[in-house]
Symmetry: C2
């Protein structure tokens, strides 16, 4: 029987398997946790500005992300309104909700994978 890896590596107690996950396509576009969090917060607040603030992100960067997202999707995921009496307001589409849902489930499965691997590391 092989030595448990935790016996080879020091700091047995707190060692864990961790990682990151993203969606990518051959043309270099990718879709990671940042854009999804932005989508989630726009869905919650109805505002790109508030979503950006909550993420300590500049309004400019948030807009760039929204534009990038809308370019990467077959139909826009954020419908942005600028100006107007109420100072704008943005809504997310059905497709955005689907993306958010998918992403949450994917994270959940990845979390399970990492937890299983961390357990395996210690046995």
């Amino acid at each position: 029987m092989a030595d448990p890896i935790k016996n080879i590596l020091k700091n047995n107690h707190d060692i864990k398997v961790n990682g990151s996950l993203w969606l990518e396509s051959a043309d270099g576009h990718f879709f990671g946790p940042g854009p999804v969090e932005l989508l989630e917060r726009i869905a919650e607040t109805g505002s790109i500005n508030m979503a950006a603030k909550a993420m300590n992100m500049s309004y400019k960067k948030a807009w760039a992300l929204v534009n990038a997202l809308n370019t990467q999707t077959s139909t826009p995921v954020v419908i942005a309104q600028t100006g107007g009496k109420k100072g704008g307001g943005s809504t997310v589409t059905h497709e955005a909700i689907e993306l958010i849902k998918y992403h949450r489930q994917l994270r959940e499965r990845f979390k399970d994978f990492l937890e299983k691997e961390t357990q395996l590391l210690k046995t």
Copy 2:
């Protein structure tokens, strides 16, 4: 039934789930693909220098990695000899072989996870 995500995201054909994986402990030490590849190459070549060259890594950096590895493991994983008639030569220990084996299996399981998720993305 929800829309397949591939219908929401453009570039359906080549989209895939990708990610990276590492081992980490609370004190900030971590053990990723780089050190493992170095170990593998030292095991193959019996030489830190040749291993470093094969990875386009400076000798200095390779040594730093080896020292870091030996500090993170309960027994050294690389036994390095410098100088001497044959100009040095390094061997890896049983523990290094175990680490390499574990790491390969972990990568294999992660690859399976990513492939499964990529398939799921397209259905």
